[in-house]
């Protein structure tokens, strides 16, 4: 901390000694009063002088005494110019408006004004979306899903057909830090991955960091997906919602006290099971299958300098059959935040965050019934500061402490044959502290450098030692707060951009990330029972190191953007499983694990068109993702499942008239790596496949086109509504979901059987909004 204060002091005094004043305030959306995260302010006529608002919309800019024209801008909004005369410290809250309808009618601007931020910003390209940006993009069952749109961008790969799970730059599915208002979401999918837990009505925006990850984030090896919930309209009450093929949504928002506080309540429920009730088949009729989400958030400005936020999420999936068995799972998160503007340069946020994921099984009724349940629960206290030291340096620093409780499973009930089995709870304390500076060096160079220290202390419960075959050799009991193993590491983060001209730049990024929690899953589909385990005396933290370099070019007055990035990522202490590993209800699950390393590298190209009647992007990724484990594949390097070499996505949105928007997507990728047999033999009359190599084969290539049409119905006063028609898998391509080898009952020959999930799925959704 001594160095930190010296650094801050140095930065403060190193600025010139002329008389300086600060202008600070908050940037907001004029229509609903939502904070504008990622907005920026620049000084007209001065190159590379400006400030970027933090995630609560707060900005601060220090200039020499004088008159200036400030330009406030944010993606999707009209730039606002304000002339100021700076003779003392000033406070100025700014509201930006959406581009007006006149322009839209003429087809001049569709997604709003956006300049060349992508060229000049210091960070590597952050992929950022708001639900508004993607509302016309067709998706399966018409269920708008921000995670599925992210999968259409370079470097992000879907976990499978219709699946909201994803892999970033060759990393594992558990290596993405998924945050909802700062709370970790441990299982971000519903219905085995076909839907994400993020209800688009409740989401303000999402940012995905693939490289050059800012130092404020930690805990996962590959990427950060930061989802922010809407704050609620602080000007007017509003109701919005939608009726879809398989689910409906409703959201209510409004001011608590006008312009001082607001709330939003949003809910979604699927009703697939209502259709099942119509079935004549008793088995189907008695099946229940649904999920729901509830999002709630409120914020209130206590004074001009103090503001509090409360936000929460609760979602659950439910699957059951009559009273024979039931299975439900879900996440709950809660965040309390306190913002304080400590001075016109220093902004503080304090958060207390809760997160829980659990699943439950109940089987049978009466005396013989038994149940299984498992959970992971976090309490996190976090303090963050943004210091707008001067025009050239924006410093962020902070720390957090998080307590994890792992309850890997308990089996209770059952008849007298069964003993109860309650697996040992485990506890961990994860800490982090970081400092990061975003610095401008001259008119062309922006650099962000930071350092994060992280540590993980596994405390209490039982610990085991294992021999090389995975058999336990010792078992030790520990007191509740007794240390079992402490892991720690320094995580440097760095990114640099060099602006060549105002239309092109080069960026460089490096980051190291430690991951102390690991998800165990030995199935190809994400499963609600995938269990999280902490680093321990046996499991070392996963470490991800990534270096990336990119070239960015804007063409035709920022109408087109081209970005090219290459990356190399090294992954240490990766986890895989022994043959026939038992991951469920196993106290000694660590004995089932084997460890190795991974590497991933690739080239990503993106061509975007941001303005005009036709907008969209084309993305291409060429990449590899490889693993090496001493205990797998005879120690030879093998492809990770997500080693998908070519991956193309085309997204086009066309505004036909003011009331009609057409959108289409096309996806093509080469097959995932898969293990197939290279021979067979018989055991007890059963044909057993013989394997020679892990992931040595490829699934067939995947391609699919989707089409969507959004019809904006006539607005009446404060009522807006639209109808969205979409067709998933337009040309009914049967893409392989699984390939299984089965014996033909008639001929006795072994055949390869491909299963495809969805042929053509049409859907219709009605959306409305009352403001």
């Amino acid at each position: 901390m001594k160095y930190l204060s010296t650094l801050i002091l140095f930065l403060l005094v190193s600025s010139s000694f002329a008389q300086e004043y600060t202008i600070s305030g908050t940037m907001k959306d004029s229509t609903n009063g939502e904070d504008l995260f990622g907005g920026s302010v620049i000084v007209k006529g001065l190159s590379n002088v400006g400030a970027t608002a933090n995630s609560y919309g707060f900005y601060s800019l220090t200039l020499e005494q004088g008159s200036y024209t400030l330009m406030y801008r944010s993606s999707g909004f009209e730039t606002k110019e304000v002339a100021i005369k700076l003779t003392k410290n000033m406070s100025l809250d700014i509201e930006l408006s959406l581009p007006n309808d006149l322009q839209e009618l003429e087809g001049v601007e569709v997604t709003g004004v956006k300049g060349n931020d992508n060229i000049t910003s210091s960070g590597m390209n952050v992929t950022k979306f708001s639900p508004k940006d993607i509302e016309t993009i067709p998706v399966i069952f018409g269920e708008k899903d921000i995670m599925k749109t992210l999968q259409l961008t370079p470097g992000v790969k879907t976990a499978g057909e219709g699946n909201s799970g994803f892999f970033v730059r060759g990393g594992g599915a558990d290596q993405n830090l998924v945050l909802l208002d700062e709370a970790v979401v441990y299982n971000a999918s519903h219905l085995l991955g076909f839907f994400s837990v993020f209800n688009s009505d409740a989401v303000k925006d999402v940012a995905l960091y693939k490289s050059g990850i800012p130092a404020e984030y930690g805990g996962r090896a590959s990427s950060v997906m930061d989802v922010k919930m809407k704050d609620g309209n602080s000007k007017n009450f509003g109701v919005s919602g939608g009726l879809g093929l398989i689910s409906s949504r409703l959201a209510i928002e409004g001011p608590i006290v006008k312009n001082k506080g607001s709330f939003i309540l949003s809910g979604r429920r699927s009703y697939l099971d209502l259709f099942l009730k119509l079935s004549k088949d008793d088995n189907i009729k008695n099946t229940s299958l649904y999920f729901y989400d509830l999002n709630a958030k409120a914020n209130y400005k206590i004074s001009k300098k103090d503001r509090i936020f409360l936000s929460g999420y609760f979602g659950r999936d439910n699957f059951g059959f009559g009273d024979v068995f039931g299975f439900d799972w879900g996440n709950a998160t809660g965040t309390v935040r306190y913002n304080r503007i400590m001075s016109d340069k220093l902004f503080s946020n304090t958060s207390v965050i809760f997160s829980n994921y659990d699943y439950r099984f109940t089987i049978g009724t009466g005396d013989d019934s038994f149940g299984v349940n498992s959970s992971i629960q976090d309490w996190n206290v976090k303090q963050d500061f943004s210091l707008f030291a001067n025009n050239n340096n924006t410093i962020k620093f902070g720390f957090n402490g998080m307590h994890h409780t792992f309850k890997p499973g308990a089996l209770t009930g059952g008849n007298e044959s069964f003993n109860e089995l309650i697996l040992d709870s485990r506890y961990g304390v994860e800490i982090g502290a970081y400092v990061q500076n975003e610095q401008k060096i001259g008119p062309r160079i922006n650099v962000m450098y930071g350092l994060r220290y992280s540590g993980f202390d596994l405390v209490g419960g039982k610990s085991y030692e294992f021999d090389k075959n995975g058999d336990a050799t010792s078992e030790t009991d520990h007191d509740r707060w007794e240390k079992i193993e402490y892991h720690q590491g320094l995580e440097p983060r760095f990114s640099l951009s060099y602006v060549i001209t105002e239309n092109n730049s080069i960026k460089l990024g490096y980051n190291r990330n430690f991951q102390y929690l690991h998800q165990l899953s030995n199935s190809t589909t994400s499963s609600p029972t995938d269990v999280w385990v902490p680093s321990s005396n046996n499991i070392k933290p996963q470490i991800g190191d990534q270096i990336a370099i990119g070239y960015y070019q804007n063409l035709k007055k920022n109408k087109f953007r081209i970005s090219t990035e290459i990356y190399y990522k090294a992954l240490q202490n990766q986890i895989d499983y022994r043959n026939g590993a038992n991951l469920l209800l196993n106290n000694q699950v660590e004995g089932e694990l084997v460890y190795g390393d991974g590497k991933a590298y690739g080239l990503e190209l993106l061509l975007e068109k941001k303005k005009g009647k036709l907008t969209g992007w084309i993305s291409y990724t060429l990449s590899r993702s490889l693993r090496q484990f001493d205990d797998i594949n005879e120690g030879n390097v093998f492809s990770a499942r997500q080693d998908r070499i070519h991956d193309v996505a085309v997204v086009l949105m066309y505004k036909i008239t003011k009331n009609l928007a057409l959108a289409g997507t096309f996806i093509y990728y080469t097959g995932d790596a898969v293990t197939f047999p290279s021979g067979k033999y018989e055991i007890g009359g059963n044909v057993i496949p013989l394997y020679t190599e892990r992931n040595g084969y490829r699934m067939p290539d995947y391609h699919r086109a989707d089409l969507g049409l959004t019809w904006y119905l006539k607005d009446k006063n404060r009522f807006e509504h639209n109808l969205n028609f979409s067709i998933y898998n337009l040309y009914a391509r049967q893409n392989a979901y699984t390939i299984a080898f089965e014996e033909n009952a008639e001929t006795g020959e072994t055949q390869a059987i491909q299963t495809a999930l969805f042929k053509m799925v049409p859907s219709i959704t009605y959306n409305f909004k009352i403001k």
Partner: protein
């Protein structure tokens, strides 16, 4: 989880299946030794074959010129003579429970060795059956059966249960019920067998084998290969030194039968 995925896929979304061509490599032939020493009839049965191409329709090539010997814990060896078509059989080999047997197979210049403990028999107490209403796992309804036994007080007992229906042995991998005693140690165990639904008048014969942990794990690995959702299928861990496929299992069996009425 398999059921959940299956039901979701089957009910909610009409999935489509088709036969496709997959081009598979040809692995070099490897030796497969399936060796059982059944205490019930004091007989050792060994079957030695080679692996073949995956899509080949022919039966597996047999190995007829191997030298198979069994050695007891005291070090006494005896030859298991060749009978026919890959089969080697030794009868009247009296088991000593609680001792370890070692089998050696010399084939084509390579010696394969595996050992297995002959555990003490866990006797069946009887077969229970009960009517099950029609449901997702019981089709049109029928009788489900359960095996009962007293699990020994010491932890670490492993069993496998096989069923014969009307004299027909159900021998598919998914017809085998494997159990450890993690949840049942020292208890009176009533283990339902979710393998088959029976009708009135069916004869059900249940064989309860007391098996070694190695064999329990081996069969679990084999069964996991039948799950199409397995992310990374692999050969079961080698049971034979020098890496022959297959296993050597020595086990006692307890057999009972009942007519559903």
């Amino acid at each position: 989880m398999k059921y959940l995925a299956l039901i979701l896929v089957l009910i909610a979304f009409a999935s489509c299946r088709k036969v496709i061509d997959v081009d598979l490599n040809e692995a070099n032939p490897a030796t497969v030794i399936e060796a059982n020493y059944t205490a019930e009839d004091s007989t050792i049965r060994v079957f030695i074959t080679e692996t073949s191409n995956f899509f080949s329709g022919d039966s597996e090539p047999t190995v007829d010129d191997a030298v198979v010997t069994i050695t007891d814990q005291a070090g006494n060896s005896q030859l298991v003579p060749f009978i026919s078509e890959g089969g080697y059989v030794l009868e009247n080999y009296i088991p000593a429970y609680g001792t370890t047997y070692t089998m050696t197979v010399l084939s084509d210049g390579v010696t394969y060795t595996a050992s297995c403990e002959m555990h003490t028999l866990i006797p069946q107490l009887g077969i229970l059956y009960d009517y099950i209403e029609p449901g997702p796992f019981s089709g049109d309804g029928g009788y489900g059966v359960a095996v009962s036994y007293n699990d020994p007080a010491a932890a670490g007992d492993f069993t496998s249960v096989l069923i014969s229906k009307n004299g027909y042995q159900m021998s598919g991998l998914n017809d085998i019920t494997l159990s450890d005693d993690q949840l049942t140690n020292g208890n009176l165990v009533i283990r339902p067998l979710f393998v088959e639904i029976f009708d009135l008048g069916d004869t059900v014969e249940i064989e309860l084998r007391t098996i070694d942990e190695k064999i329990y794990r081996y069969y679990n690995e084999l069964i996991s290969l039948t799950d199409p959702n397995s992310a990374a299928p692999a050969n079961p861990d080698y049971q034979w030194e020098n890496r022959a496929l297959g296993y050597f299992s020595a086990y006692p069996s307890s057999r009972q039968s009942v007519i559903i009425q």
